[in-house]
């Protein structure tokens, strides 16, 4: 081992491991000390020194980078949210016979609730399946005595209605849960609830209800069926049914189809908001909501359900919000924006931003966001988004300052 060797490294382009040709590696004078054999076998001995100390066991960097890129691309294709292979396969696996049946029941119940007649064709359309397959599904449901076809439509039996109400309860409870306790975007509520309604057992549903305080309405404004299957009848008319000048309170926002719901969300509408129609053309309907002027295409506006208000009663606003306060200025809180819901709303109220409270902007901060406000004696920092939710009245400013 003590002999001196010259180290000339062969250029093994394109080879990942060069173990097999390690004999061609020769080793130069080792820097310090005497070295004992590590491997008993002289070939491996030389090998380990080559490998360990002179970096021979190396991969061509270009090849390594190529392999790395391939792996990254592969992982992206596999795990990309919504469109990746993994999530597609997951969706296919979840689409069992039971899920199809439950979806069919929901479709039929929806028809009954809104007064539309359902048929095998409408079912095939709603569930995206062939007519023959939908017919088979109807036969199955009939055999299970969940529906009884009488030639006109597909009416549910009592058992079928109860089943559908249970599904609806889970669906809407889950949406409420997502809205109140998580940060899941409104656009994703429906899809996640669609999955959970098939997954939760009745006991789990009740546990969920208890945990989120037995809510009565889902975040779209729809009533949640009670555990005993009761639900008030639907009220209200589409936004398009109002006449110009008339006001209404939003009670429901339809979350399907996704694209239309996106438009409604973009417009900033939420349940309990008050709207007033300005004018209507075949292309667009203009209205005010909380003082702001909004526009929607009729196709989106029909998915907004409102309860008309008596003539003369109008929406509130427009309001200033906290961000308009300059440092040192004060104003009183009028309300927290209806768009601020769930935990955000709870927290702002608990911090003391309740209607009638005097608020003073006190510190702008190094980066001007957040801003610290003096409210009921404490100095509370709010981010811009939170400050925008707090509507204020500056009219009695003179008194305050």
């Amino acid at each position: 081992m003590g002999r001196s060797r010259n180290c000339t490294l062969d250029n093994y382009l394109g080879q990942i491991l060069i173990l097999g040709r390690a004999n061609s590696c020769s080793i130069g004078p080792l820097p310090t000390g005497s070295h004992k054999a590590i491997w008993g076998d002289p070939t491996s001995d030389r090998l380990l020194f080559c490998l360990t100390y002179f970096g021979v066991l190396m991969v061509d960097p270009i090849l390594a980078l190529t392999a790395f890129t391939t792996v990254v691309v592969f992982l992206v294709v596999l795990f990309w949210p919504r469109h990746g292979l993994a999530s597609r396969i997951g969706r296919l696996l979840r689409m069992t016979e039971r899920v199809r049946m439950e979806d069919a029941l929901k479709h039929l119940f929806d028809g009954e609730y809104t007064g539309k007649t359902c048929s095998v064709e409408s079912l095939a359309g709603a569930l995206e399946m062939s007519r023959a397959r939908a017919a088979r599904l109807v036969n199955q449901l009939e055999a299970m005595e969940l529906i009884h076809s009488d030639g006109r439509g597909l009416p549910l039996t009592n058992a079928g209605r109860e089943y559908a109400l249970r599904l609806l309860r889970t669906h809407r409870l889950w949406e409420r849960y997502l809205a109140d306790r998580t940060n899941v975007k409104p656009l994703d509520w429906h899809d996640q609830a669609e999955r959970q309604e098939h997954a939760l057992a009745p006991a789990e549903t009740e546990e969920l209800a208890a945990r989120i305080g037995h809510p009565l309405y889902d975040p779209h404004g729809d009533p949640i069926p009670t555990a005993t299957g009761e639900m008030p009848p639907q009220s209200g008319v589409p936004l398009t049914a109002l006449t110009p000048g008339q006001s209404g309170a939003v009670v429901h926002l339809e979350d399907e189809p996704r694209e239309v719901f996106q438009k409604i969300l973009d417009a900033g509408l939420v349940p309990l908001m008050r709207v007033q129609v300005i004018d209507m053309t075949p292309e667009t309907i203009r209205f005010t909501a909380d003082g702001e002027t909004l526009e929607l295409e009729p196709v989106a506006a029909t998915n907004v359900t409102v309860v008309p208000l008596p003539h003369g009663e109008v929406g509130d606003g427009p309001f200033d919000n906290l961000t308009s306060l300059r440092s040192g200025e004060s104003a009183t809180v009028v309300q927290i924006a209806p768009t601020c819901q769930g935990l955000h709303r709870r927290r702002l109220l608990d911090l003391g931003f309740v209607p009638g409270t005097l608020v003073t902007a006190e510190l702008e901060g190094t980066l001007r966001d957040p801003v610290a406000y003096r409210v009921r004696g404490a100095l509370i920092a709010l981010r811009k988004q939170q400050a925008e939710w707090i509507y204020i009245d500056r009219s009695d400013l003179a008194v305050q300052s």
């Binding site: 491991l17 080792l30 820097p31 310090t32 000390g33 004992k36 590590i38 491997w39 008993g40 490998l51 360990t52 100390y53 002179f54 970096g55 190396m58 991969v59 061509d60 960097p61 270009i62 390594a64 790395f68 306790r181 998580t182 940060n183 899941v184 208890a210 945990r211 305080g213 037995h214 009565l216 309990l272 935990l343 955000h344 709303r345 709870r346 927290r347 109220l349 608990d350 911090l351 003391g352 309740v354 009638g356 409270t357 006190e362 510190l363 702008e364 901060g365 190094t366 980066l367 001007r368 966001d369 957040p370 610290a372 009921r376 004696g377 404490a378 100095l379 509370i380 709010l382 981010r383």
Partner: protein, 749 residues
């Protein structure tokens, strides 16, 4: 009003103060159970310490990562157990803190609940007091910070306030012990039943709500006749409160009546009959029916009426026309510390000073401990072992392995932590840290995180495990998880020595000798800054992917500046932070020392296990621009980053089979001079690339096992713990890999 308040004469208060015996943690049985509630920043913990002394039992509430402190005292012949509830703004059970506080006041059945109220912010604090008075009668209001109120020209008519609220109100300056004897008397009076409270209850609700509450509370009173707070129970049922609904269904609510003598576990509750069961089900059905008649947002109006009541009570009992006796420093201090131009420079100066004090101050004690435990203690122990004829392998495992690893961790870890944590806690107590969070929030907001993450990050520079625990200051669940998972990107004090050594060997050596030190310091700082960048990047990515759906709410109160309490700070930061973290580190380092020694001394054929593992890991190490020795060192040194370099040196000597260097196989060591270390590493085949990549890998790798364990304790989730380990490791592998390949292409490999 039966509440007799501060009627006691001053003369006897001395005698009573003398009768207070602070029991600290020695409390296995008690006569009365007292809960301490209050808003955040009201001096609640000062009151707690004034009653129980500095020592306290700290831990978590069962099933929650909410800190729980218990203490005790003896007063007027009774032993009293005091439970510190988390500081909250309300009892709406919207956060874990609020849920813990609410459930304890309701189901923990304290004999007395002391509500600590900040006299300078009466209106805000009375909101919480009102909510507690809704639940329980036996409340004492501790009107704290009277000195601050006086300075600000705020006067409170204590008698009036007590009349309005219907419970005793005791003015205190807990920091100086003023009013504590009166507080003790009031607690005792209530607990023993001498004082009969008649608490104020909110009675102004909207007509539709009032109708529903009356119908339901009448029903409740017929089923549970002894309940004194039936209106509150009715309101909670109407709000769909899960735990109250359950308590009504099971009949537990009926056993919560307050007859003044109950203790947890000691009451023989009346059995709940089956006929009662059906009646309580009827009640719940009635509640369900009434709920549909209410406005969907009626809960908002509850908060409004609670605040409205607080406002009117506060106005009625505030004395006007007083003069400020002190200069208001807060506002001018705030204007300076958060100003556009001075905010950041001041912050940098203060934080640099803290770090400099830590590093400079820790050198001497660290050296002394190392000299004592490593240079003297280790040979002495070996000699002793040889003297008593201990078999070589026993002394190897115990002394070379367990003892050495533990001693190393203590020497490197203890002094910086013992300096850093108290300094940091002083800044926290003073009120400066919330301003840092305020100044930096926008930056963290863009990364989807909370401004307070800046604080947990700073704490992480001391120790990641402590940083993870400190993430409790973030009350929004998502941002707290982000802070926990990314804390490891703060270069902790166990990794600084590695950085400094490698930087001076490989990077400082590139520069001319007179600026070598500066260059290597710059290299270390840029690694730390890279860490901050990686933390922001990881936070951003997490908040947009796996943590997208987690709940988030932002709130940040900027509390008034207060002089820090030195003694308490020393106690909490030394015992609670340093002590616990160090203990955990030792528990993990000790077995690791044994493992390291065994790896180097157990042989399979001609090779030790360590050599075998190195030869397996080596190809992978080379791919990353590192080597097998480094990877094995990081595998076995998971318990503590402090022992990475000693392990690397020991393993290098082991594989090179060098004689005359080091202290024998399996015995970790460090060399006196940097140049000797440099020679050894270069002999092991290390290059500039190895040095750079080791510095990066030391930053970007899995947290040490102490931190991982702490993450598991804080999140109670194997999923998030795994993610915290995998995320930096994958980042480290990727970065080192890419640098190695690009380096080799550039160098024409």
């Amino acid at each position: 009003m039966a509440a007799s308040v501060s009627s006691a004469c001053d003369g006897c208060s001395v005698g009573r103060a003398a009768s207070l015996v602070q029991l600290g943690v020695q409390l296995d049985r008690w006569d009365f159970l007292v809960a301490l509630a209050g808003n955040p920043n009201t001096g609640k913990s000062t009151v707690f310490n004034a009653l129980t002394g500095l020592r306290q039992h700290t831990g978590n509430w069962p099933g929650k990562t909410v800190a729980r402190a218990e203490g005790g005292y003896r007063h007027a012949g009774k032993r009293i157990k005091l439970i510190d509830l988390p500081g909250t703004y309300s009892l709406n059970a919207g956060s874990a803190d609020e849920e813990v506080a609410r459930d304890f006041i309701l189901f923990g059945r304290p004999d007395v609940t002391v509500v600590v109220v900040d006299a300078t912010r009466l209106e805000r604090n009375l909101n919480l007091a009102n909510q507690i008075l809704e639940i329980t009668d036996r409340v004492v209001i501790c009107l704290n910070l009277m000195d601050e109120a006086k300075r600000r020209g705020i006067g409170v008519d204590v008698v009036k306030l007590s009349q309005l609220l219907g419970v005793p109100v005791v003015p205190t300056v807990a920091r100086r012990g003023e009013g504590i004897p009166e507080l003790l008397d009031a607690i005792h009076g209530l607990a023993a039943g001498d004082i009969k409270p008649s608490p104020y209850r909110i009675d102004r609700y909207s007509p539709e709500l009032e109708v529903a509450v009356q119908r339901l509370s009448r029903g409740i009173e017929t089923v549970f006749a002894e309940l004194s707070n039936s209106r509150w129970v009715a309101l909670r049922l109407l709000a769909g409160d899960g735990s109250i609904t359950t308590a009504v269904r099971t009949g537990e609510i009926g056993t919560l009546r307050e007859n003044g003598t109950q203790h947890p576990g000691s009451n023989a509750s009346v059995p709940f009959r089956v006929s009662d069961r059906s009646r309580s089900d009827e009640l719940l059905a009635l509640a369900e029916e009434l709920r549909w008649t209410l406005n969907p947002d009626f809960e908002d109006s509850l908060t409004e009426s609670s605040y409205a009541t607080a406002q009117s009570v506060a106005q009625a009992s505030t004395l006007r026309g007083l003069r400020r006796t002190g200069f208001d420093l807060d506002r001018s201090l705030d204007r300076m510390l958060t100003s556009r131009w001075l905010g950041f420079p001041i912050m940098l100066v203060i934080l640099s000073a803290v770090f400099w004090l830590t590093i400079a101050g820790a050198n001497i004690p660290s050296g002394a401990i190392a000299a004592l435990l490593l240079d003297m203690g280790h040979p002495a122990l070996k000699g002793l072992a040889a003297g008593i004829g201990m078999p070589w392998w026993v002394s190897g495992i115990l002394i070379d392995g367990v003892y050495l690893a533990t001693a190393w961790v203590v020497a490197v870890m203890l002094p910086p932590m013992a300096i850093f944590f108290p300094l940091f806690t002083l800044l926290e107590d003073f009120g400066y840290l919330p301003r840092v969070a305020f100044n930096l929030d926008k930056l963290f907001q863009k990364a989807g995180a909370h401004g307070k993450q800046a604080l947990t990050m700073c704490m992480g520079f001391g120790c990641n495990a402590a940083g993870v625990v400190s993430a409790r200051v973030i009350d929004s669940p998502r941002e707290r998880l982000i802070a926990i998972i990314t804390n490891n990107f703060s270069l902790c004090n166990g990794r600084w020595p590695t950085q400094i050594l490698i930087a001076s060997i490989f990077i400082g050596a590139l520069a001319p000798a007179h600026i070598a030190g500066l260059v290597s310091a710059a290299a270390v700082v840029s690694v730390a800054v890279t860490g901050i960048g990686a933390m922001l990047l990881a936070s951003w990515a997490l908040s947009r992917t796996v943590l997208r759906g987690e709940a988030t709410t932002f709130s940040l109160e900027l509390p008034p500046y207060r002089p820090p309490r030195i003694l308490r700070t020393l106690y909490t930061s030394l015992i609670d932070r340093t002590g616990i973290v160090l203990w955990r580190a030792i528990m993990f380092a000790a077995p690791a020392g044994a493992v390291i020694w065994l790896l180097a001394n157990l042989h399979v054929g001609a090779l030790s296990i360590a050599e075998l593992m190195i030869s397996w890991l080596h190809p992978f190490g080379l791919l990353l621009g590192l080597n097998g020795v480094i990877l094995l060192a990081y595998v076995v040194a998971i318990p503590a980053n402090e022992i990475v370099i000693p392990t690397v040196l020991m393993l290098t000597v082991l594989t090179l089979k060098l004689g005359g260097v080091g202290a024998g196989s399996g015995v970790m060591f460090e060399l006196e001079s940097t140049s000797a270390t440099s020679d050894l590493l270069r002999a092991g085949g290390w290059t500039l690339l190895t040095g750079i990549n080791l510095m990066l890998f030391s930053l970007l790798h899995n947290p040490c096992s102490t931190t991982l364990y702490t993450i598991y304790r804080e999140t109670r989730s194997a999923k998030w713990t795994t993610l915290s380990a995998a995320l930096p490791l994958v980042m480290g592998f990727t970065v080192c890999f890419l640098i190695a390949q690009i380096w080799r292409i550039a160098a024409g490999w």
